[in-house]
Symmetry: D3
Subunit: 283 residues, 6 copies
């Protein structure tokens, strides 16, 4: 679920970027009354994501277009599967084509990548894979949604939606204990206090100070075992720092609660989705 108003704001901006100066090609070569239907088709296996954005782009260009989703967000589509269609004035479809694809290729790319990480967890395991704030500037709402469509989870949305005390905050506060204490004193009671620690000593201090979530940054597997033993039941354990796909299974087996993965959003291969347009003739 992405609030329409957020979607609308992002989509308008993207369309202005491409259409501010008109569309020289379409105006010159396509008659106003030509009608067409376009099918967005997966060209490789992927997890589908972006139905609302796809629709929003085309309906913002022209409310007279008719958009249909053939596969629901979050479902897998094999190469060759038609995913969405749009029908109406050919000019309108051509104006929105590239912008729509730029959105859904990225979103489906993220969903597909997230699914890959989630699928790497051992069966039955309750470990969560989450995103981070390493999202594309301006597109966070869409990318977080794509992460959820891939079966992964969201971390805090923004700096005002959660407390995550990093090394710089610790240094500025004069240590782990005072940093946690201040956060406990001032942050809304609705958020958990999370702190990043880089050693077992730091972990002990954080737990003693009452941290709700401990983020173990770049811990080796052996350290993780110890850390999990010390923490179990006292705080949520999140691991972070250069997590790659092939380490996910082992982290799941160890029983960490959360694995946060920047790569879910910061290094994404766009999913291969093509839009094939078929002319339907004049009105």
């Amino acid at each position: 679920m992405i609030a329409d108003i957020v979607l609308d704001d992002i989509v308008r901006r993207a369309l202005m970027e491409d259409l501010q100066g008109g569309d020289l090609t379409t105006e010159a070569t396509v008659a106003p009354d030509t009608r067409a239907v376009a099918r967005a088709t997966a060209k490789s296996d992927l997890v589908v994501c972006g139905a609302d954005v796809f629709a929003c782009v085309f309906l913002t260009v022209d409310p007279g277009l008719r958009v249909e989703a053939l596969v629901e967000d979050g479902e897998r589509a094999e190469a060759g599967t038609p995913v969405w269609t749009v029908e109406g004035k050919a000019r309108s479809i051509l104006l929105g084509e590239r912008t729509a694809l730029n959105f859904v290729q990225r979103m489906s790319g993220i969903a597909t990548q997230a699914r890959r990480y989630v699928d790497a967890l051992p069966a039955g395991c309750r470990t969560r894979v989450t995103d981070t704030r390493k999202t594309t500037p301006g597109l966070r709402a869409l990318e977080r949604y794509a992460v959820r469509c891939g079966g992964a989870y969201n971390h805090r949305d923004a700096l005002g939606a959660g407390v995550l005390i990093k090394d710089n905050h610790i240094e500025a506060a004069g240590g782990i204990e005072p940093a946690i204490r201040r956060a406990q004193e001032r942050a809304p009671h609705t958020v958990r206090i999370e702190i990043e620690v880089e050693s077992l000593a730091g972990l002990d201090e954080a737990l003693a100070a009452g941290a709700d979530i401990v983020m173990l940054d770049n811990f080796a597997d052996s350290e993780l075992v110890t850390a999990l033993e010390r923490t179990r039941g006292r705080a949520i354990v999140e691991v972070s720092g250069g997590i790659t796909l092939d380490r996910i299974e082992r982290l799941g087996e160890l029983g960490v609660d959360v694995i946060s993965v920047g790569a879910l959003t910061h290094s994404v291969r766009s999913a291969d989705i093509a839009l094939d347009i078929e002319r339907l003739g004049g009105a």
Copy 2:
């Protein structure tokens, strides 16, 4: 060069996304008068890109910060090289940190990738590698700039900045010849008429009609040789369609004029750049 006004608009929007609800952690743990210096350092070899954006983010958060670029955009930086610094109120640096990194990691990632493609061309070859309109919605100006920093070139910026007749336009216009003719009749004289063709027959028709640029879509190398012979001197030859890095050298040897590569922007691995913050003490 990115116009300041464009930069400012993009940066404000990105900052609002992260700061709309404040920064719970920093407000709770960092005193208002704590000062710090932060250094952005390359963690792997990369082509640097984003000095203006880096500065704009921090100066938008707090005009009292002092930002310096140690490496110029477009230059290579080896792992370990400090690239930019920012100094001033610790709170301000922490507020801008993630947003600034999200921008410059992406931009440097694009510049690094673009450089890789350009370096794959044979020495002395005049072939251009260009981007496409497959950019991240809302960030086109930044990504096109990053492409240039990597030594590659830009294709048309937007739908109003160039004519590119694709198969759908051809179908809508009733053929290659009428599509080109209409574009010649109506488009500004300041742009070249480009048309996408998928066969040698299409190429011949396009050349006969006076296309200024022919985009050969998914041509095999053998076809390319023929196409180049037929076209030489009559039009600019652009090849396109699933271009991978290992095909670049051969395309350069064949002497195509332009290779347009969607992957320059649509599937980018963020460059690894870290921001290390050192506390300087209270004012």
Copy 3:
């Protein structure tokens, strides 16, 4: 702390509302080079709030103005105390006067009211008074800040920054247990799961399901005693619903963790602050 970018956005909008059509009176009656100093003075006892907004309004109107804060945000000022000053072109001061006062009177009114609630708590008590989302549309960041200046606390900022399951969500989810379970399964691990309950039976169900915060809505004092006994150590206890100033002390004595008070922001008497302008003569 309010991020400058958020402040700037709110202030610009407010100024446009008043200045879009110019200022007929000032342009006609005040010469461009007349200079003045203006002092904002408390006309009744209040808790000061709004230094940054005061400055932002005047500096947005005219970056050449010089603004000074004589009392810090969150401090008390007795009637007659000068709080802020602004000096420079008389025209610029007159253009910003009403807008600046509209902001700071409201913010100081909220801070003063919040302080009244906080002061009503028994000495040494650790109960928090918090705001709600019943803020003025468009001014939430400012009003939450004012609440903090008055010594009270913030609840979640927005719908994306916390989970608060209300009766409608419970009904939609098919009960307290499934509602909490779904929230646990889907919400970010960084937020606590809060649920509103209207009876002791509901409370028991919420605790059994693992709610992190229970909001006791419109509980009588006698019920509260029981509720606190059952909950202690298992969840944070928040009380809510038509809380008036004279009930705060008793709630503090009972030892509830959080009292959320809509009236902190939805029914505020603007603090009485006047701006007296003294002419300094032409440049």
Copy 4:
């Protein structure tokens, strides 16, 4: 009447404030196809205001919702009266609920307060109660409308919509006479020249200079009688300055033309309106 375009602009901004990060609770606990009807009901006696805003909030969240007004703006509603309803997707109703209430509670609070002032006037009296520019930044159009719904009147909308010469302008212009003269010379002929005076001497000077409206600031009743005698027929008489409800009747009896009351908008108790949501079941 509030122009749709103004309404839309204010509502979008308010919704973004609450929905930018999504709605964690609703997405987790309410299924997409659940339908509901919600009734906004007066919990105490009030003057209704906000039908268009109520509708605009919900229709902006989801154009598929159906909104109905049961009581017209400006009418009284006793406690218990249903005022507006909205029906459709439960998720959409929950997303808009708080924002809609924040608007209409404030607007109805203003209308109710305005009505109280108007009702305090003697029967048949032609004195107007008006608002001032002491409105909530960003919400002026809505608050002025609410004032009208309560039976009171608007003063000038903004600095460009009227001339009101205050003491600072008088000082800057070098006196009452030159201030009025300059305004007469320069302001559009479509607006009346209003001047604030603080003494009978000032009044005489203003009348002699041809002021169209004299605003008597903080005049005692006895002075008012004299002032009214001197002014009658020569200018509109407006009184201003700390007007409280219990002074209205007397001012009306004296026959002043206009009483401007900042408290109509700057210190408002939100009207008590609740939204009760009833589930209708899935689609």
Copy 5:
């Protein structure tokens, strides 16, 4: 005087229109460190207008530019007179050049035209020439300012800043008398009630109903004489409707109070102002 915030908003928008896609020419041909000075010179006799806009355009492009006004707004400049200068980075000057000129040529064109109308009035005559709402969409604040610089006056700024009852309102209200009465009952006391009449009978009705301003639409000179006799002392007389320059003198002699002229803004010949750039060499 134009409020900076209004100016800034208009200028940013104009610059985005031209710079959204960068500046291909300047980036390719001008080195970043090249410095230049540019002089804006009147190429024909004109009334100067636009100093603030000229400065705002260039300082928005690059706050490092230095802008100077050599002739004040509202003064005449003969052909060949340098009016404004800007100095700094050549690239920045080139980016802003066209936008700055588009503004000031239009504004000086309006000021020059307004001056022509004002100068056509008989010496010593107190008749005002005013603009109308026939301004360029989006530029009203600038154009009204230009009108004032030319020595003419502004009519109401917008639909909310004055009452002007036209034939359509009269028809809707059921006649002149009820239209005026309703406006008197509802409009703020700060504005005068103006009504458009098309005959002497209409004028009589308007005067009887207490109109403050009567707009005589398309009255012949002979009718005007009668109308003025009947109105004198009872209302302000405004004439309107296809007013051309050669009729101004006669209207002034007749002693009408106001002549409103749509052509002041709707049909303007841009003033001829050129910007000559001189290179100063690299930094």
Copy 6:
């Protein structure tokens, strides 16, 4: 064709300018349920332009209005011809009236003027008349469209959509040859390289360097003949600089390719179009 999203953005802004403070007159005098039909009629011969803008203004004010175009954009209408109609609530029509007319009078004025220039060309001649970037800030998309409706052509849209090397660029680059070379090296291959020359010597240098378009600035007819001989077949020839209507025929006979005319947009007489509203009675 103007993209709806661009239109919507421009129209909203224009409406806000006029409606921000409401409409005092209409609210006071016109009942909410009064219905009306309005007809926009040409009052002098003109080329019609603005159907989409006319509709957009009224539908933005009130989506319930019904708008119809009786004459297509680009067609001629004789004085007295009804061009567009709008029907629905009288209030809504009155709110949009002036803004709609301000747009379409300007656009039809431009189209009419453009047609005059085009009609001045000799029959059968292939010379193009084009606009320039001397458009009204904020309205470029509309004015370029109007130019096309008048049968003329567009030059480059913005600084990022084409290369036009002017004297300042030449000076900064160190001459014509290096300026052209740098542009060829850096500008997208999709645009032609255009350069402004002021003498035959400059022309020779530009042609030798491979300019695609030469803009002959202020060439006398005799020089033009020589220039055309030297250029024919090597570059597109554009003439520019103070082109007046009576020189068009001769330039066409000489066979220049393009005549760019700033006056198409910078000095336009608004077309005379009136909106007559007829009351239809209450709902």
